[in-house]
Amino acid sequence: MPIREGIYGLLAEFNTPSELVAAAEEAYASGYRRMDCYTPYPVEEAAEAIGFHRNRVSLVCLIGGLLGFFAAFGLQVWVSVLAYPLNIAGRPFYSWPAFLIPAYEWTILFSGFSAGIGMLALNGLPKMYHPVFNAPNFRNGATSDKFFLCLEADDPKFSIGDSRAFLERFDPVSVVEVDY
């Protein structure tokens, strides 16, 4: 991985979610695309403001669920019909109604794990290092009571001076440069 140098972006700190959402909406409207909001609890409007409307967690979950159903059902059919057929009170080897119950459970098991682990994977977690943690005020606030907007330096519209002036307009608590 190449060593990144320079700055990752500009991080503005706000006291209320409303100020953050207003700033993020304005930033999106004036053409910024590579940016992110950091909040101590889910703020749906913040994700909408930066143009993040849909995610693919549900799709991953659906695929996992189907896989789970067919894995369990297939396993039972293979075991009960081919690998180890047992005559249980004269019932057919392919007694599918009984097989539905473990298949139902594995549908839930696989889709649940796909949703949970899929969510983490799509988020790129676990990721112990991230540049925003370098900001001196980030860890004191982002996970308890402050709201952050980060304009990232690889956005074509980004320039230190202009972007800083842009953020200052929203009266943030502070605007700091975030290093890699």
């Binding site: 209320t16 979610p17 409303s18 959402v21 207003a22 992110d36 909001c37 950091y38 909040t39 101590p40 609890y41 889910p42 703020v43 749906e44 409007e45 913040a46 994700a47 930066i50 993040f52 995610n55 967690v57 549900s58 979950c61 369990a72 396993l75 039972q76 075991v79 009960s80 690998a83 180890y84 249980i88 009984a98 119950i101 473990p102 139902y104 459970e105 594995w106 839930i108 098991l109 889709s111 649940g112 794990f113 949703a115 949970g116 899929g118 969510m119 988020n123 977690l125 676990p126 990721k127 112990m128 991230h130 925003v132 943690f133 860890r139 004191n140 982002a142 996970t143 308890s144 009571d145």
Partner: protein
Amino acid sequence: MATKQVVPDPVVDQATGEYRVIAPGHTFRTVTEQISRIVLTSRTPLFWLGIFTVAGGLATVLLVAVTWLFLKGTGIWAITAPVMWGFAIINFVWWIGIGHAGTLISAILLLFKQQWRNSINRFAEAMTLFAVVCAGMFPVIHTGRPWLAIYWLFPYPNTMNVWPQFRSPLTWDVFAVTTYASISVLFWYIGLVPDLGTMRDRSRSQIGQFAYGILSLGWRGSARHWMRYETASLLLAGLSTPLVLSVHTVISFDFAVATLPGWHTTIFPPYFVAGAIYSGFAMVITLAIPIRRLYHLEDLITLRHIDNMGKVMLATGLIVAYGYGMEVFMAWYSASKWEFFMMWNRMFGPMGWSYGVLLMCNILIPLTSLWSRRIRRSVAAMFILSLIVNSGMWFERFVIVVTSLYRDYLPSSWGTYRATRWDYATFLGTWGLFTTLFLLFIRFLPMIPMSEIRMMLPQSKIVRGGPDAEQKLEETV
């Protein structure tokens, strides 16, 4: 003559007369501090150490009991023909039933948008996990030599080329319970990740920062992450709902599929599920009342919670009562003399006292008193009621297992059942294990989900139109 000034209770919403879910005056920071302080303090409270000592002692009793069991075999228990299912299965069904309330609170109440669940869902889920640990142990150890029991429980390629029998409820049970345990762990952990991020950032000790840092997976609260997180939580809630209803259903199949009078009934699945939730909510109340008192969390776990849980208990208790009534009715209406005798024997036979205890603890006392709002809002009364229902539900499983088995079709094979000291030691031991795990949880992890409480504060509302509009909102709040 001055009239006495009535100070309005801040926890009561003056407009509606209802108790609030959270007391007013909290900010994002005070909520975070109040909850994380319990964990991050270096001083362990004295009551914690006291309870931990007792619980740890009982957990040691479990260790001894299980060791002796493995050395001697299941003969140390009271199980023998005709009662081959004794305490082990009673305790298994009882513990796993308790777990159901945690999943109900975290999943079903989330889908119904019941915001009051947010304060209690984390520790209710932890209760679920530890109850499932205790429950899951019993079917394993009641095989006597569990290391020989794996091949017919789990489908894995073994040297004997033998595979499980998938038409048996016992195998369904393995799938249901292992799925339930895995999904419960996952749901609980996913819920913890953002709060672990908070703990990482607020911890002052090196070990704390390192441990919480690893466990939080580098959570940074990005808006994109939160959206995926919310979707995943909703999906997990949607998946846990049919799961929690299916687990006790499958467990009831263990009984209902057998052709034994007292077991072979179609009402078992719904009646087992309702009973599970009934006893589970009783357990949440048993745990919540001392916790809110000892950790001064009265403004986060308010009387609103206790009241609402009382209502859930009343509703599920009535379903259970209907189940009991239907069992008696069907024993008569089926015109099967075996069913009729089973019910008569259950009520008036030598074990009839246990049916009396069950009716007293599950129907007579709670279902008459829970209608009263005054009782539902009295902490002491609810604590006592929760203990009564917990014992009543244990006796329900005792009645189902023992009084169905000990006198079945052939009088020549009748017998009786009397638990041994090892039965009691194992049961008490699981109490110790449960309490020990629960105490470790409240000492090292935030027991109330901070991010969800923040979401419930009035400040979290988005206000359009700049600072003036925000000022207005503050005035109305």
